[in-house]
C-alpha cells in the first residue's frame, strides 16, 4: 500500500475497505413498484444456447458494465467466437465496491451465471476478474474450475484489462449480470441491483441491494448523509454524473450513490506540462498536445490523431494536477476532427 502522496492518477484500492466491511444490506422495496416478474424456469440441467439467451431476454438483464442487454452481448460474443469469458468482479471506481461484494457473498450464483453465459456464447474458458491478488487468493478456494485475472489498482483497470487480453478474444460481463442470469434460469426477472453508498458526505458507507426503480434519495438516506451535501453523483466517481433530482430511479447502471461535501475542484491553473495525462490514458492519446492544439485556435487535424479512440474513461482529467477537464477537451477535439466544430469553448 503506497501513501497517498506517492500515487499518481486515481488509485482504485484506496477507499474500499469501509464499504466492504459490512455485508450487503437489503433495502425494503418502496411501495408502488410492481412485484418482480416471474416466468417459466429452464428445466434442463444443461440448457441450450437459444434457451439461455431466451431466458436472459425474458428476464430483461442489462449488463451493468456498459448498459448493453445481456442477450445481445452474448450473441455478439458468440458471433465473434469469443474464447474466454470473464466475469468482472471488481469495481473500476475508487469508491464503489458492489461487484466485489457480490462475488464475496453470492459466489455460487455468480459462478452458475458465468457458466450459463459461457455456454451461451460458446466460450471455452471462464475467468473471474478480481480486484487484486489478495482478492484472488481469498476467493480461489470458493471458485473451483475457473481461472482468475487480477485487475490493476490504477483507474481505468477495466479498459486496461480488456486491452491486455484482447477485445476480440475475451469477453467481459458484469458480476451482477452473471448473478441475474443464474436467477433468470430459475425464472426470475432482473429486479435488483447492488449499489454502493459512499463519499465524504455519507457517514455509513455500505453496499445495499435495492429494487430497480427505487429513488436515489432513499438509497442515499440508508447511508445517513450529511445535512447538506454539495454534490450527489451516481455511476462513477471518475466519469459519472451529478444528480440534482433525488427522486431519480436507481437503474442497473447506477452502481454507486456518492455524496460529497465539497464541489470538485475547478480548473485553477494552466497546463504545467507534466505529461501525466498521456501516462494515464489507456488508449495512447496525448491529451496535453490536444489541449495545446485546441488552445491555439486553429487545430491541425493531423495533430489530433487518436482522439476517436477515446473511451471517455476520464482518467486524464482525474490525473491532471492542474485540474483541467481533459476528457471534455478530447471530446471537443473529436467533434472538431469529425465535423469541423469550433475549437474554442
Amino acid at each position: 500500500m503506497t501513501a497517498r502522496w506517492m500515487t499518481c492518477g486515481v488509485n482504485l484500492e484506496r477507499e474500499k475497505e469501509p464499504s466492504l466491511r459490512g455485508e450487503i444490506v437489503a433495502l425494503p422495496a418502496p411501495g408502488g413498484l410492481p412485484a418482480p416478474r416471474t416466468f417459466a424456469p429452464l428445466r434442463k440441467k444443461k440448457p441450450g444456447r437459444a434457451r439461455i439467451l431466451g431466458a436472459a431476454e425474458e428476464a430483461g438483464i442489462v449488463d451493468e458494465l456498459d448498459g448493453e442487454p445481456l442477450a445481445r452481448k452474448l450473441s455478439r460474443y458468440a458471433a465473434r467466437k469469443t474464447r474466454v469469458l470473464a466475469a468482472v468482479c471488481f469495481d473500476d471506481d475508487p469508491l464503489a465496491t458492489g461487484e466485489q461484494a457480490v462475488l464475496r457473498e453470492n459466489t455460487a450464483q455468480v459462478l452458475a451465471g458465468l457458466e450459463l453465459a459461457a455456454a451461451a456464447c460458446g466460450a471455452a474458458e471462464r475467468k473471474i476478474a478480481a480486484a487484486s491478488r489478495r482478492e484472488v487468493r481469498r476467493m480461489r478456494g470458493a471458485c473451483p474450475g475457473v481461472g482468475f485475472w487480477a485487475a490493476g489498482d490504477r483507474y481505468p483497470a477495466l479498459a486496461v484489462l480488456r486491452l491486455r487480453h484482447g477485445a476480440e478474444r475475451a469477453g467481459t460481463i458484469g458480476a451482477q449480470a452473471c448473478a441475474a442470469l443464474a436467477e433468470a434460469a430459475k425464472g426470475r426477472a432482473q429486479c435488483e441491483t447492488v449499489v454502493t453508498v459512499a463519499g465524504d458526505g455519507v457517514s455509513r458507507w455500505m453496499n445495499c441491494r435495492v429494487r430497480l426503480g427505487t429513488p436515489v434519495g432513499s438509497v442515499l438516506q440508508a447511508g445517513v448523509p450529511d445535512e447538506n451535501p454539495a454534490v450527489v453523483a451516481v455511476e462513477s466517481a471518475v466519469n459519472g454524473r451529478a444528480v440534482t433530482d433525488l427522486s431519480e430511479p436507481v437503474g442497473v447502471l447506477t452502481r454507486c450513490v456518492l455524496a460529497f461535501r465539497k464541489l470538485p475542484r475547478r480548473r485553477a491553473l494552466p497546463c504545467v506540462g507534466c505529461g501525466r495525462c498521456a501516462r494515464a490514458c489507456p488508449r495512447g492519446i496525448v491529451p496535453w498536445m490536444i489541449l495545446r492544439q485546441l488552445e491555439s485556435g486553429a487545430p491541425d487535424p493531423v495533430f489530433l490523431l487518436g482522439v476517436e479512440r477515446c473511451i471517455r474513461c476520464g482518467a486524464c482529467g482525474a490525473a491532471c494536477p492542474s485540474g483541467i477537464g481533459l476528457a471534455a477537451v478530447v471530446a471537443r477535439a473529436e467533434a472538431v476532427k469529425e465535423g469541423g466544430a469550433a475549437p474554442c469553448r
Partner: protein, 325 residues
C-alpha cells in the same frame, strides 16, 4: 437540499500543482538549513530578499496587466528560493534581488500565465547576474575559517577558490571528501552540501514532483564525459567524482532541469533533454570562461525542449503508445 450539477471527475489523483510547488519549496528550504547552522542567519536574509523581490515583481506585473493577483501556484516562491541558492553567501543582498527581478520580469511574466515560460526563470536570472557581475557571482569566501556574517552590510572574509574554479585551472581540488559532502567548501550557497541536495532530490522523486529520468540523463551524460575526457590528470573515477560533486551541477540536475514547465513532456524526450543538458554543462566547463555553466546549458536545452517533444511524437507517428499490439 440544493444539489449542484457538477461535472466529473469527483475524485482526483493525489497530486496537485500547488502540492508539487510546495514540495519543491520545502526541498529548497531544506537546503538553507546547513548554511544557517554554519554561518548564521544571513542565508535567510538572502533568500527572503529574493523571494520578496519575486513577489513584488509579480504584483507589479499584475497591476500593469490589470489582472487579479494570485499566488496559489507557489511557483514564484520556488523561483525566488532557487536564485540565491546559486549565488555565493558573501554576495551583496541586491545581487539575488536583481537576479530574481530579471527572472520574474524578463523570463517568466512576458510569456503569459504560469506554465508558458519557455526558459527556466531561475536559470535565466542567475545567468543574467553571471553575465553582468561575474566577479561578484564567482567570488566565494573560505568556509574553513569561522566567520560571523553580519545580517546587513559587508563582511570581511578571505576569498577562496571553489573546487569548480580549481578544476577549471586544471588542478585537483584539495578538499576532504567529507567536507565535499557536508558543504564545507567554497561555492554557491545552496549547492555545496551534496548530501542534502541528494536527499532533497530523493524527496522530490518519491513525491513525484520531479522526474527522475531528467536527473539520471543529466548526471549520466556528465559522468560519461567526465570519465572520457578528464580535465585533470587522474583516474576516470576521480574525475567523475570531482566533476559531479563540484559547483552547481548536482543542484542544477535536481532542481532546475526537472522543472516540468520547461522540460519535455514525453519520457524519451526527457531522457534526451537531460543528457543534452548534462553534455552542454560539461561543454561549458571545458570551453566556457566561467567555472559554472549549468544555467547557460539549461537555457539552451530549454530552447530544444518543445522540439524534442514534437520529434518524439512524430517518431511515434502522433499515435502515442497503445496497449493494443
Amino acid at each position: 437540499m440544493p444539489l449542484t450539477k457538477a461535472a466529473a471527475p469527483f475524485v482526483r489523483g493525489g497530486l496537485t500543482v500547488a502540492g508539487m510547488m510546495r514540495n519543491a519549496a520545502l526541498a529548497l528550504l531544506a537546503l538553507l538549513v546547513l548554511p544557517v547552522v554554519h554561518y548564521g542567519p544571513r542565508p535567510l536574509l538572502l533568500a527572503g530578499a529574493s523571494v520578496l523581490t519575486c513577489f513584488a515583481c509579480r504584483v507589479l506585473v499584475c497591476l500593469v496587466r490589470r489582472t487579479s493577483v494570485s499566488f496559489s501556484e507557489f511557483s514564484v516562491l520556488v523561483t525566488g528560493l532557487s536564485v540565491p541558492m546559486l549565488l555565493p553567501l558573501n554576495a551583496p543582498v541586491w545581487l539575488p534581488c536583481a537576479a530574481s527581478a530579471f527572472a520574474v520580469l524578463a523570463a517568466r511574466e512576458p510569456f503569459g500565465p504560469f506554465g508558458r515560460n519557455p526558459f527556466n526563470p531561475s536559470a535565466a536570472g542567475v545567468a543574467f547576474a553571471a553575465l553582468c557581475w561575474p566577479q561578484r557571482v564567482f567570488s566565494y569566501f573560505d568556509p574553513s575559517r569561522p566567520y560571523g556574517f553580519p545580517l546587513f552590510g559587508r563582511a570581511a572574509y578571505r576569498a577562496a577558490q571553489s573546487p569548480a574554479a580549481v578544476l577549471k585551472e586544471g588542478l585537483k581540488p584539495d578538499i576532504l571528501p567529507l567536507d565535499l559532502l557536508w558543504g564545507r567548501t567554497p561555492g554557491p550557497l545552496g549547492t555545496t552540501a551534496i548530501l542534502v541536495v541528494g536527499a532533497c532530490g530523493l524527496f522530490l522523486f518519491l513525491t513525484r514532483t520531479a522526474k527522475w529520468e531528467i536527473t539520471a540523463g543529466f548526471l549520466g551524460a556528465a559522468a560519461l564525459i567526465a570519465a572520457l575526457y578528464p580535465r585533470i590528470l587522474c583516474s576516470p573515477a576521480t574525475s567523475v567524482k570531482y566533476e559531479l560533486l563540484s559547483g552547481s551541477l548536482l543542484f542544477g540536475a535536481v532542481f532546475l532541469a526537472t522543472d516540468p514547465v520547461t522540460s519535455p513532456r514525453t519520457f524519451s524526450g526527457r531522457c534526451v533533454y537531460g543528457a543534452f543538458a548534462g553534455a552542454l554543462t560539461m561543454a561549458f566547463r571545458w570551453f566556457g570562461t566561467y567555472e559554472q555553466g549549468v544555467c547557460f546549458a539549461l537555457l539552451i536545452a530549454n530552447a530544444f525542449a518543445p522540439l524534442l517533444d514534437s520529434a518524439v511524437l512524430r517518431l511515434r507517428g502522433w499515435e502515442g503508445k497503445t496497449h493494443e499490439a
